[in-house]
Subunit: 592 residues, 2 copies
């Protein structure tokens, strides 16, 4: 059973991702280390003791639709009530509406633990947080006053309605429509698919944020508006009024995250209310809906990255525990009586250490991204730098962590042998749950396009180059540390960073030459390359911090394993970026 | 929907895997190209038209246990009857018992197609073929006469009962026991788990091959005997007698292959018959049961490899079809109206081409392994060489193909975007089914141990060195072809082969120095390295053959894509083998 790794998380936040420095410089307001530790401990307890025990039943029963109502798995309504009671929903939300306005770093750390407990359950608050953020940033004062407090408390949940059957990665072609009404409200019509927690029985009301098109809107992405559409209309005194004209038509039958209801939502079908059309209110300006979505995209994408980290951690814990218990064969050098625990077999140890290194790497990248987001919220001279850093790290955090989630979960099954294929073991669920994360909130391919075409050119390439220079400093510190335990780490980091730099330069030049197809051919390998180099560097940073502390909980050894076993891949990835496009283009005849 | 790629399969058999040469030299008996083509066409038709349409219902319903009886999914009993009627069960079985004694190359090609249709269904004949092989090779004349004909026809199916809860990879500790009876029969007692098609309603009788221990047997693997234990006892006239004392206690709830009943079998519990104990007969000699199993291991492992190839092919077909249909966004260079098909996006094209290259590579390796098995069955001077070649190729075919199955199925989901996560789409099933193949019939980690410790040392290392020399000839042929389409292929193959050679030499030396732990630390990366180099070389062989034919169906382009995009990984793999052990050993403190 999952146990939240609170100390590991605190270490990574403070010593790798930048929270320690931010705290000591007073950049995080009144927040002190004691409060950080207390919040992490309590979030960990909630994840371990309350969420995780209900994950399996959630997977087995799934969310069920009957007569338009969605029933959550047994125990989940109470779990959600405990969630609200714990005040977890508003960790980063504005204080004016009952939130705690804490740094995102704390929130992503807590999100990781809740997702490790049950990714399907944690999706509910994840979506609500996104909705709170959009309303906070772009909603009118009236909308904020009416909706935010109950969303922040969690009494009402939120959703994001973007996708339509023909409009997934490309939202420009969406067809849901909105009509203006004379009282300033709108009426919405259309179908939305893949709506996470679109309908359920754990909250009094559900606040849908819906992208739709006005009758006179321009075509494409510049003609999309964002609307707030509540399941129940809300009276001026805050009490709930009539049911709005929207409903959940069906639930998807999915590979994983069974406890999370994935809904097809129908708006304006005339099922409820006197007049056809779901009543909604504009968020932000007309036709600027996508811009509103973009402001929250870093956080939402990072939140999905946390799902990857969360699965990595939970799957690794499970596999390590099994490999220590299960005995089979005699490993080389095993001197015990009878069979050795399988953890003693080099091949099993290799799988487990790979899982640990990927978990730690993904975690560090994601926390560093949250740190950049937190820093970017401060005004002053560093504002733009941190905004760019957050923008640069977001696609890497999302893609690297979610890919790691799939790979680590799959390795976890392998470690379990035949038992891994049996559902009751629980290892398979991690793979089933993990598999959606590289897809939603922008597929990892879309992340790679974003990274290469929008993020690399930030500040004319200076942002990425500055980042690479910082990575070099880490490699130098490893070299200067003269610690034997690092083995060949410094040289391996140098090589990886050089690969990253060459690939970066090539991409910047190729983009400048307007050879988009060539640059995009290498986007995914480049994204992976970046994540792998960051993994090596952040593990090294952790190792250096540990050595400073005089500790020896194996960080340096794990860093060395990653440097000497995983980082060798960077040369192949660089090669794919720099040399791969021509053969890819030539081989397209096979796909015609 | 899957359509058997009969022409591609025939091409690979004849021009890459060695069947063409074997046919022209008359090494395959009376078999001619016309018969090969006819069998492939008809096997393909059966897979496409009869098996594939029943795959989804098999997955959805699964096999169900009620009152000790296992009901197959709707339509599967008829499907199995059609299977028997088609005569497919005895393709390679001895003619004396109604088989066709055809080469294994043909059988694995057919197996690939049936597994693409439904891996869960194809498991039934796969297990029966293994049982036929064991009885043919080691059974007494009386056993053969009594059982083989009906097993060859498929009227009776066969199973393999090896695993017990505490005995998986390590069979030496199994506890099932057998007692001698004065009439020469035995009585068996014990529990076996993970028994594929252990009970079902499609055949009149089920012939279980069971590993068990005699009371006076030595401990460990040298005290295991193999028994034939039928579900129904068989009278001397061949009619069915009493029910034997064995039953299916429960079915596993698995990640995939739902239509295949995975049974816990109980022997000798007294549920049936007058006297406790399941009646069985010895196969081979007492205490030599494992040796009997080993003779069929190459075929069984290769058969699992075919499952990997099969999933690769089916998942790739599905993803390519979707990517051609689905439109989204505008790819760079797209000049059509509106959105482009997603196949036009470089990132999607990269995924699809990677899937195609891995599919073709895994197929070629597996067919080459079958070719070696076929050649090894001929007496004469080449016998030992081909026996060794088959032994060397088997772990690579099993592991590379099954890993490719998982990776390709996962990429297939990614290509489908959100739809890939929806079960009705069918892409997710391929991943769920594929995930068992790297585990059973010897985990891929066990394959790697086998490859490094037993196969590399064959003929003092000359077998593997001779093979590497053959690969160099392929690289040379590419260079000498002077075909522009190959791009940098020759140099890439040279580099990959050099990596393979260095890693091989290092492993042979490290084994000679009796540093088992160090050698085994790199076993899995080495196995992958070997498979990747073979993929490049066999794709090149196909390209060269195509150029000789004057054809241009893209083989050279696919080879170039693999050489310039996938083979760069060989350096990292070689590095892991040669340099990875020390850091792996040092990092073990993290697992203590």
């Amino acid at each position: 059973m999952y146990k939240a790794p609170v100390e590991e998380i605190a270490f990574t936040l403070k010593h790798v991702a930048g929270m320690g420095e931010a705290l000591s410089k007073g950049l995080l307001g009144d927040l002190g280390e004691d409060l950080v530790d207390a919040i992490l401990a309590e979030a960990g307890r909630f994840a371990t003791e309350e969420v995780a025990p209900l994950a399996e039943i959630g997977d087995r029963q799934g969310a069920r639709l009957a007569d338009g109502e969605v029933r959550l798995p047994d125990g989940w309504r109470d779990l959600y009530r405990n969630w609200i009671a714990g005040g977890w929903n508003g960790l980063t939300a504005p204080e004016a509406f009952g939130g705690q306005a804490l740094p995102h770093m704390l929130n992503v750390a807590a999100l990781e633990m809740w997702n490790s407990g049950s990714m399907a359950f944690a999706l509910a608050p994840t979506l609500t947080m996104g909705a709170i953020e959009a309303v906070s940033a772009h909603g009118s004062a009236a909308l904020k006053d009416k909706y935010l407090e109950k969303m922040v408390s969690g009494e009402w949940t939120g959703t994001m309605n973007l996708t339509e059957p023909h409009a997934g990665s490309d939202l420009g072609v969406l067809k849901a429509r909105a009509e203006r009404r004379s009282d300033g409200s709108y009426r919405l019509f259309g179908q939305k698919i893949f709506i996470t927690w679109g309908e359920h029985d754990a909250a009094e009301n559900i606040i849908h944020l819906v992208l739709a098109r006005l009758p006179d809107a321009p075509a494409g992405t510049r003609g999309i508006s964002l609307f707030l559409v509540p399941k129940f209309l809300v009276n001026d005194d805050g009490s709930l009024g009539a049911r709005n004209d929207l409903f959940c038509h069906s639930l998807e039958h999915k590979l994983g995250i069974h406890g999370s209801p994935t809904c097809t939502m129908i708006y304006g079908d005339g099922k409820f209310g006197d007049e056809k059309g779901a009543v909604g209110w504009l968020i932000g300006e007309e036709n600027k809906g996508l811009a509103c979505m973009f402001t929250m995209m870093n956080n939402a994408r990072l939140a999905v990255g946390m799902q990857g980290v969360a699965i990595c951690e939970a799957a690794t814990q499970k596999a390590v525990a099994y490999a220590r218990e299960r005995t089979q064969g005699r490993a080389p050098g095993w001197s015990g009586a009878g069979m050795s625990p399988i953890v003693e077999h080099p091949d099993v140890a290799r799988m487990l250490l790979t899982m640990k290194a990927l978990t730690q790497g993904a975690r560090a990248i994601s926390y560093a991204c949250a740190h950049a987001i937190d820093m970017s919220h401060r005004a002053g001279e560093g504002h733009r730098h941190w905004q760019e850093r957050a923008a640069l790290l977001t696609p890497i955090a999302k893609s690297f962590s979610t890919e790691a989630g799939v790979d680590v979960a799959s390795l976890g099954i392998q470690v379990h042998g035949g038992m891994g294929f049996i559902e009751e073991t629980g290892a398979a669920r991690y793979l089933r749950d993990a598999r959606i994360a590289p897809i939603y909130e922008g597929t990892n391919g879309i992340q790679a396009i974003d990274l290469v075409t929008r993020k690399l050119p930030l500040s004319g390439g200076d942002q990425v180059k500055g980042f690479i220079a910082e990575l070099r400093e880490i490699a130098d510190s490893v070299r200067c540390s003269n610690l034997d335990g690092f083995g060949d780490t410094a040289a391996r980091l140098d090589a990886g960073i050089a690969d990253l730099e060459q690939a970066t330069d090539w991409l910047l030049k190729t983009l400048a030459d307007e050879k988009a197809a060539e640059a995009l051919s290498g986007a995914t390998p480049y994204q992976r390359l970046f994540g792998l180099v960051l993994t090596g560097c952040y593990l090294a940073k952790g190792g250096l911090a540990e050595s400073g502390d005089g500790g020896s909980d194996g960080r340096i050894a794990l860093c060395r394993f990653a440097a000497e076993n995983l980082l060798a891949e960077t040369a192949a990835l660089r090669d794919r970026v720099v040399n791969g496009a021509a053969s890819l283009a030539a081989a397209r005849i096979l796909l015609a």
